[in-house]
Structure formats: C-alpha cells, structure tokens
C-alpha cells in the first residue's frame, strides 16, 4: 500500500511532464472535429500521397466583411483542386498582429494568411512569407504596388487591393446643411460649422478601436506633414530633424481645434467603426476621415444614399493622398503543404478571382489587367483624384510600433480633452530614438 502510494505520487509528477517528451503535437481535438489530421501529422512520415490525399489549408485574416467573397474564391479553388479543404479563421484586427506573431513563433503558422499591406515588409523581413518571385502575377502588378511586398529583389506576397484615405461624405447631408466640398482647410472648417448648425455631426469617428483613429490621423499627416516636407521620414531616421521640427505639432493643434469646436461627434471614443459608418450612412453625421473601403460599407447600409469623396486640403488647397496596399496575402514557407498554399495565393491573383474580390470589397486594383466594375460615386471620385495626385504610403511605415502608438494615443487624448501637445511630440521623439533599430527600411 505504501509502495503503491509512492509510485502514484511520483507518477503524478511525471505525468505532468509527459507532453514535453512527445513530438510536441497537440492532444487530439474533440471527436466532432472534421479530419484535421493533415495539420498535426508530421509531414515526413505520411503515407505515400496519392492524387486525392486530403490537404487542409488554413487561411487567416482579420476582416469579417470579406468572408463571403473569400468563401466563393476558396470554393472555386477547391473545385479545381479536389482533395483540398480550406478553413478560414478570423482574428479581430486589433489583436491580429499579436496572435499571428504568437502562432508563427510557436511553429504554428497558418498556411496562407493576409497582412496589412502597408506594413507587409514585416512579414518579409522576419521570413513569415515565402518567395513568389517567379509567380505569373508578378509581371502583372501595377508598378508601385509591388514595393510593399518586395525585399532585396524578391517578391513575397500578392498585394490584393489598394485603398486610399480621404474624406468620404454624405452628399445629402451636405445639401441639407448648404455645405459644399471645401478646396482649402479654411473652407473645410466652414463646412464643419454649417453642418453643426444644421444639427448634423460634421465628423464621425469609431474611436473604441484603434485603427479608425489611425486612418483619421493618416489624412492629416499626408495633407499637412508630408505635403510640407515629403522627405521628413528619411530625415528623421538619419537624425537630421526631430518630430518637433516637423509639421506634427501644428497638425495636432488642428485636430485639437476640431475637437474643441465639437466638430467630432460626441461619444466617438466609445463607439465602433461600424457604428460611425452607420451614422454617416443614415445622415446623422456627414463625414468619415477613413479609407476607401468605407464606400462599400456605406452603400450596403444605405443603397439609396449618395456618397462622395474629397481629399483633405491644407491651407493652400494642396493635399497628398495616402494610398497603400490594403491587404496582402502570402503563404508560409514552413507549411506542410507549401506548394498548394502558394498555388492558392497565385489563384487569388488570377484575373477572374481578383475582379471578384475587388468588386465585393469596393476596392482599387493592383494588377494591370483587372478593372472591376465599381460604380459608386465616391469610388469614382476617389479614383479620379488618385490618378492626378501625389501619393504616399501609410505614415506608420517608417516608425517603430511604439512611436506609432504614441501618435495614436496622443490623438485619443486630444479628443478626450487633453491639450498637452508637447508631451505627445516628446513621447514620439523619445520612443523613436530608443526603438529606431526596429524600423525596416526598404531595400
């Protein structure tokens, strides 16, 4: 009895460490799971693969709005490649990068996954994506859009669609308030005042999530900071200037003025992006300083509404438009089915699928031979302006995460009543100097 007890206790201790001795696979999932065997089986020792061998690919993204079109595209792929199943997983945007990092670093990278086009170079620099340099679609990319997925001469992902920032507005609300599309910043402020007098919230913002605030800021950075000094980013990296010496302080002051004049809808910091879009769609608010995907959302909520676009102008009527690859998609080189995964990526780049996706997402093409049928006024207006404007990448590109976060938090604070702009600039400069080693420069 005593001996049995001793054995029991030691066994208990040992049992808790057994998993460490195994090949590190996870315990079998609940019996109701479909055959997920392909994912956890070690690739090397599988039985000889026949044509109909089950291949399960995992696809990761953050955008619930594209689920339908992705399902369509995936099903088309499955029809042409029997034996393949694709499971799509969605992680909310705010946690996307963290969860993705966790999975990849733990050796559990999804087979195929999307990433924010404007910072796709992170995926490349850390070898999260495999090369697609000799894929057929590379030669079909519109010049300029291949930059964000390239590194040292190789291409790593497919830029799925392009978006841009600007002001997307409800034309009917403008008409109601007697407001017109502003050509200078002073006129923009007048427009806001007219809307406010008519009882319409001039600017709607979904501030409980961080990313809408970041796109709000991007509009201001492009129009004020970059228009004034297009090379400020490289100068900052080389240490020639500090943020305090750029247009950033003045820009933050302008945002503060908007907040203090109540031009930004009350309670913005507590509502979601979707709620802010709804308010513009139904006319209780007028403008969204966001990205071109908003058009699709607005049209869906209010198909009879009239929505337009204009870029945010500066004092002299000049502006710069931030345009960027919205989503890029790549495959994991460590995938057990890397070749099939790569095929899926290339499939998304084929003209038929690309057109399907772009029309569903109301987005701009990145390929020379694809022209989606987009009829919404706002999209047309946006495309027109884009063709004739100075275009830059997203302002996050040459900042360490910490600095980018300080700018975002700074604007949140300004919207919440804080007036200490110097503290924001100081934090941006301090974190930049500490963390600039993490900035990935294009090569």
């Amino acid at each position: 009895m005593k001996k049995l007890a001793i054995v029991l206790v030691i066994a208990l201790t040992a049992v808790l460490f057994l998993p460490a001795c195994s090949s590190g696979g996870s315990p079998a999932p609940a019996p109701s799971e479909p055959a997920a065997a392909a994912e956890s089986a070690p690739a090397a020792e599988s039985a000889p693969q026949t044509e109909a061998a089950a291949v399960e690919l995992s696809l990761l993204t953050w955008d619930p709005d594209i689920q339908e079109v992705c399902a369509e595209i995936n099903n088309k792929f499955i029809a042409e490649n029997p034996g393949v199943t694709i499971s799509v997983d969605i992680i909310p945007g705010d946690q996307y990068e963290t969860v993705l990092n966790t999975r990849v670093l733990a050796g559990e990278s999804p087979d195929v996954f999307m990433y924010f086009g404007s910072s796709a170079n992170k995926m490349i620099a850390d070898n999260f994506w495999g090369k697609v340099t000799d894929s057929a679609f590379v030669s079909r990319l519109i010049p300029g859009f291949d930059d964000s997925v390239s590194y040292r001469g190789d291409v790593f992902g497919f830029p799925m669609n392009a978006s841009g920032n600007g002001v997307f507005y409800n034309k009917d609300a403008f008409a109601q308030a007697g407001a017109s599309v502003p050509a200078t910043y002073a006129e923009f402020l007048e427009t806001c005042e007219k809307l406010k007098s008519a009882g319409i919230d001039p600017i709607a913002l979904g501030g409980i999530d961080v990313w809408p605030i970041q796109h709000f800021i991007a509009n201001f950075v492009a129009t004020f900071v970059i228009t004034a000094d297009p090379d400020y980013e490289m100068k900052r990296i080389n240490g020639d200037i500090t943020y305090a010496q750029t247009e950033y302080p003045a820009m933050f002051t302008r945002i503060m003025e908007l907040a203090q004049n109540d031009y930004i809808a009350r309670g913005s910091l507590g509502i979601t992006h979707d709620q802010s879009v709804e308010s513009v769609a139904n006319g209780s608010a007028a403008m969204l300083l966001n990205g071109s995907w908003t058009v699709g959302q607005l049209q869906e909520i209010n198909p009879d509404g009239n929505f337009g676009y204009f870029p945010l102008p500066n004092d002299d009527g000049k502006y710069t438009i931030t345009a960027f690859v919205d989503k890029a998609i790549g495959f994991s080189p460590t995938s057990a089915h890397a070749d099939v995964a790569r095929k899926l990526v290339e499939f998304y780049a084929e003209p038929a699928q690309a057109k399907m996706y772009l029309e569903a997402a109301h987005s701009m093409p990145t390929l020379t031979d694809v022209t989606p049928d987009i009829s919404a006024d706002a999209s047309v207006e946006f495309a027109e302006r884009l063709a004739t404007s100075q275009v830059v990448g997203f302002f996050q590109n040459f900042m360490p995460n910490s600095t980018y976060d300080e700018a975002t938090k700074g604007v949140q604070a300004i919207l919440a009543g804080d007036t200490n702009i110097n503290a924001i600039i100081e934090s941006m400069d301090r974190t930049f100097d500490q963390d600039k080693a993490s900035v990935i420069l294009p090569e």
Partner: protein
C-alpha cells in the same frame, strides 16, 4: 427577536425600500443584457424600449458563429481537469505541511502562499517562452497547468487550515491499529476533508472558468478556444450588431448564475472558509 413580527418598524421599511432599489441597480446590467438579447436590430435603436417578442435569431447567430458548443466543451474540459488535479495535489501537499512543525514546513507553507503576490504579468513573458519550448502551445494542457498553478496558494491555505482542525487523536488511533502513513491519510483524513473540498472548488472554479489571459496567450487555434477568448473574438467580429453580443453574454452568464443559485449555501460557506479561518 419576536417583537419585530408585530410592529412595523418604519426605519426598516425605508431601509428595505432603499435596498430593493439598490439591488435593482446592481442587477440592472444583467437584466438589460438579457432583455436586449431578444430585440431585433431595429428595436435596438430605441435603448429604453422592451423587446416586442422573443426574437431568437440573435441566439442562433451567437451559437453558430462563435462555435459556442466547442467553446463550452473546451472550458469544461479545462475546468474539470484542473479542478480534479488541484484537489488531489493540493490535499496531498497540505497534509504533511499541517502535521509537521519543522522550519522547513513553515517555509514551504509561506512559500506556497507567496504565490498570491506574484502577478501574472511578472512572469508572463518568460512563461510564454517556457510553454512554447515545452511544445505546449495551442494545447489545452497548457491552460490546465496554468490554472492548477494559480489555484495552489489558496488551496494549500484552505486544506492546511482545515486539516489542523482535525484532532490528531484520530490519526494516532489509526497508527496504533497498525495503519501506515499513507493508509491513515487515505482512510481517515481524506473522507473528513469534504467541507474543505467544497470550499476549494467554490473558490477556484470561477477564476479558472473565467480566465482570459492564458487562453489569449497560448491558444490561437479557433477549435481549442475557451469561452472567455471565444466571446472576445466574437465581439470583435461584429462591432455594431449588439443583438448577438447580448445573446452570447446571456448564454455565458446563465451557467455560473444557475450553478450559484442552486448551490448558494455552499458558495457562501466556501468564500468565508478561507477568510474567517485565515
């Protein structure tokens, strides 16, 4: 004591009314969530209105889109397994600690209790690395280990305190009758531990069930997610559609509330056990 039955005490009546109102305020958020879960998207617009009917589509959406059954299964698996393990190893460890008086045992006791002061964040990052290196990423076992570990301080506290109240005569009598150390433990002491076991379960079950951090860090595969993180992801997904969010909240809170309502007495005993004896 009996006089209160025959006299209406005005102070008591006012206090009663105030407390009734206070209890309503306390319960309001939950009632609001339950009521709102039955509203259609249109009805949601008017926040103060009651739903017109038992609109069940929100529940359907919540159940299916979040894969609620999988979330529930995973949470149950982790909770039940963790609870079983902690009861066994906690009581085993508490026995020698409470029956021996040397400095070593006092040190061990305090050492275990010190765990209550170590915040999860202090070791979170190396722990993440450890779990990864042990190959336990994306396993429910990692959650079990972390849950068991988190329960150790309070479990040892309760079991030790309780065992100390069991008269040693019982064990000495057993020894005279020829029982060995382990036999005494299993035959005499363990059966007496039932009240303490109840306390340990009550005190640990909710923190394990509601744990958000560990599954967030260690589980990224959707099919292995537990309720807290599953709901978090679900809420992040449909940001302006509050109907399903309230539905899933209601579904989730039914479980601990039902458990509590049926086992109230044990809950109260459990909470106070550690406190009053401690």
């Amino acid at each position: 004591m009996g006089k209160k039955k025959f006299r209406v005490n005005p102070k008591m009546t006012i206090l009663g009314a105030i407390m009734l109102f206070a209890s309503f305020v306390s319960l309001f958020p939950i009632l609001y969530a339950i009521l709102s879960s039955f509203k259609t998207k249109v009805e949601m617009g008017d926040v103060l209105a009651l739903p017109s009917s038992l609109y069940l589509e929100n529940y359907q959406v919540a159940w299916e889109r979040s894969d609620f059954p999988a979330l529930l299964t995973n949470s149950l698996f982790v909770t039940v397994l963790s609870m079983s393990i902690i009861l066994v190893i906690g009581s085993l460890a508490a026995y020698p600690i409470s029956r021996n008086s040397g400095k070593l045992y006092v040190f061990l006791y305090l050492f275990f209790l010190s765990g209550m002061m170590v915040p999860f964040q202090s070791g979170m990052i190396p722990l993440y690395g450890l779990i990864r290196n042990l190959g336990l990423m994306n396993t429910r076992l990692s959650l079990v280990l972390v849950a068991v570990n988190a329960s150790i301080p309070i479990t040892i506290l309760i079991f030790t305190g309780f065992i100390k109240t069991i008269p040693r005569e019982l064990e000495e009598a057993a020894k005279i009758d020829g029982c060995g150390y382990m036999k005494t433990l299993f035959r005499i002491v363990f059966p007496l531990l039932v009240p303490a076991t109840v306390s340990v379960i009550i005190l640990n079950i909710l923190p394990i069930w509601n744990d958000f951090m560990s599954p967030l860090l260690f589980i990224s595969r959707a099919e292995l997610r537990t309720l807290p993180v599953g709901i978090y992801m679900f809420i992040g997904d449909r940001s302006s559609d509050f109907g399903p969010i309230f539905a899933i909240s209601t579904l989730t809170l039914i479980i601990p509330v039902a458990l509590f309502l049926s086992l109230q007495k044990y809950f109260y005993k459990g909470i106070t056990a550690g406190a009053v004896k401690g």
